[in-house]
């Protein structure tokens, strides 16, 4: 392959000057949350975590599904779980969704619920970034901290974040 490949790269300044057409799609959607997640969001508003238990394999699925993808059968029942779990992974974000630097880094991770082994969700974690970098955060016991009831709207953001469970607590 001793020859030159086709293609015309443009430097940033050349791209600025190049013939271009710009468009910003104004797409807006409204998604119905479905059978399982509608109930999940309603319970978040009540300050509770609800899952679906599969009567075949016994797993509690969170986020809840009306079907168990392992057994491919309907899940049978709703079960409440305590909003307490362990951190299985955590990271420190220094950038926003749009790639700009954040003034204050954000910690995010997956929390596996104690009452539902194998079922976790990802959310913000209110812990010191140093605990993430030192990996001490892994396995840490955390609980959900909720918005005040009046401010809840049936959203994953009704949980503000998860934070460490204090000594002798729940």
């Amino acid at each position: 392959m001793g020859y030159k490949l086709p293609g015309t790269p443009l430097k940033r300044a050349e791209f600025e000057k190049a013939f271009k057409v710009e468009d910003k799609p104004e797409a807006k959607y409204a998604w119905a949350a479905g059978q399982a997640l509608s109930r999940f969001l309603e319970e978040l508003k009540n300050g509770r975590i609800v899952g679906r238990r599969c009567r075949n394999c016994g797993k509690i699925l969170i986020p809840p599904r009306m079907y168990c993808e392992h057994c491919f059968r309907p899940t049978g029942e709703w079960v409440y779980v305590r909003p307490v779990g362990r951190i299985v992974t955590a990271v420190v974000s220094y950038i926003a969704a749009t790639r700009e630097r954040l003034e204050k880094p954000e910690v995010i991770g997956i929390v596996e619920f104690e009452d539902a082994p194998g079922s976790g969700i990802f959310h913000r974690l209110n812990i010191d970034p140093e605990l993430v970098i030192s990996r001490k955060a892994f396995g840490m016991r955390v609980k959900a901290v909720w918005k005040p009831p009046k401010e809840r709207e049936g959203s994953i953001n009704d949980i503000l974040y998860f934070e460490p469970v204090g000594e002798g607590e729940g």
Partner: protein
């Protein structure tokens, strides 16, 4: 899951084509597709009139910002007026496209298939990271305003924690691949860098730093895949597709163990069974493993059973995966060095194995004799694995 591993019609790759991989290309997606497709046909010594069908691969439409990208790319890919389809499995698309090309021929439907993959990542403004927001679950994940890198950082850190992997060893992958890319004529980010450079680069989402990640890239790649009858007529050195495999895991990624890509193993086992490979670590001579992030090369080597769980960083530290090592991995320079126009990057890997097995890789040619090679890609919400095994004829 049962697979017929005794497919009787053999399929050969007889030509490959590539454009430059760069950020901000003047060419439209169609023009890039045309350049790669024409080069692949020239390599094979064939004309468009010889082509029976076309398979196009491209990742989400949102990247190029053009809807119906398969139809859009069709004329630049030689797909006009003949059976043409587009396939898609996220980042796994680049290897899935020649898998689809393979079944077009292996089924007996067609003798000559042109396989084209294209992606332009640079049109999305101000940065394509934001376009990736649309891959997250709309009900529970998007309201948290995630950055794409979060999900990979979570997987990378879980992997590091589970197998006690140091960042220094992961950085070696980036150093190796960017250095390998110095010999690749398409390469965007070929460079001599050090582990310190990686560790000192901007921290985006700890543990992911800027030099752990592949760049924003535009580019296209193409292959010509033919039946044995045609291969015997037009070339003395066909490269046979001996095994293909693909598998998907659930989008419920927070309900899975992220330290190990089980779905890559499922795909690899399917391809190995078909290719009659019992000990991949011994029988694969050269591998192009999907490396949009440096840790993914290690993660995928383990899923492909080219290393035991947690062993890939050790093999990397010992130099086993270098171009002159016992198991060269990403001699092309990979996505980290050559660039990452998603679907085209995966197909570039298959093209590299084609060139390696024909001894046509020039300065990138691996030192050991290469008879059997593998290419793999991965995508979506850390859930799609695609694998192809090829042998020199």
């Amino acid at each position: 899951m049962k697979t017929n591993i005794y497919v009787k019609r053999r399929v050969a790759v007889v030509g490959a084509g590539l454009t430059l991989f760069r950020r901000r290309m003047l060419e439209t997606p169609k023009e890039l597709a045309w350049e790669a497709a024409k080069m692949a046909l020239d390599w094979a010594g064939l004309e468009l009139d010889d082509v029976d069908a076309v398979v196009i691969g491209s990742a989400p439409d949102a990247f190029d910002g053009v809807h119906m990208k398969g139809e859009y790319l069709a004329d630049g890919s030689g797909g006009w007026g003949r059976p043409t389809m587009r396939v898609y499995v996220g980042g796994g698309t680049g290897v899935f496209t020649p898998i689809a090309g393979w079944w077009h021929v292996a089924s007996g439907l067609f003798d000559v298939v042109l396989v084209v993959a294209e992606e332009k990542m640079s049109p999305a403004q101000p940065h394509p990271q934001f376009v990736f927001k649309h891959i997250w679950d709309p009900i529970l994940e998007r309201p948290l305003n995630p950055n794409l890198i979060w999900i990979f950082a979570m997987e990378m850190h879980r992997y590091m924690y589970k197998y006690n992997v140091r960042k220094e060893d992961i950085a070696l992958v980036s150093v190796k691949n960017k250095r390998n890319a110095l010999d690749h004529p398409a390469a965007q980010l070929a460079a001599k860098i050090t582990v310190e450079d990686v560790l000192n680069s901007e921290v985006l989402v700890y543990p992911v730093q800027r030099l752990d990640i592949s760049p924003v890239t535009d580019g296209a790649a193409a292959l010509v895949m033919v039946s044995e009858k045609v291969a015997r007529r037009i070339t003395d050195s066909p490269v046979w597709v001996e095994g293909v495999g693909w598998a998907l895991d659930s989008t419920q990624w927070t309900n899975r163990e992220l330290a190990y890509p089980k779905y890559v193993e499922v795909a690899a086992r399917m391809a190995y069974r078909m290719a009659g490979i019992n000990n991949p670590r011994k029988e694969i001579d050269v591998a192009e493993v999907y490396d949009p992030f440096d840790y993914k090369e290690l993660h995928h080597m383990e899923g492909l059973m080219l290393a035991r769980k947690g062993e890939a960083p050790i093999l990397t530290r010992e130099g086993v995966t270098e171009r002159d090592g016992d198991l060269p991995v990403n001699p092309s320079g990979g996505l980290l060095g050559v660039g990452n126009p998603i679907a085209a990057a995966g197909l570039m890997k298959v093209a590299e194995i084609f060139w390696q097995l024909r001894g046509e890789a020039g300065g990138r040619q691996v030192k050991k004799p290469a008879y059997t090679g593998l290419a793999q890609a991965w995508g979506d919400l850390m859930q799609a694995g695609t694998v192809i095994v090829m042998r020199a004829g």
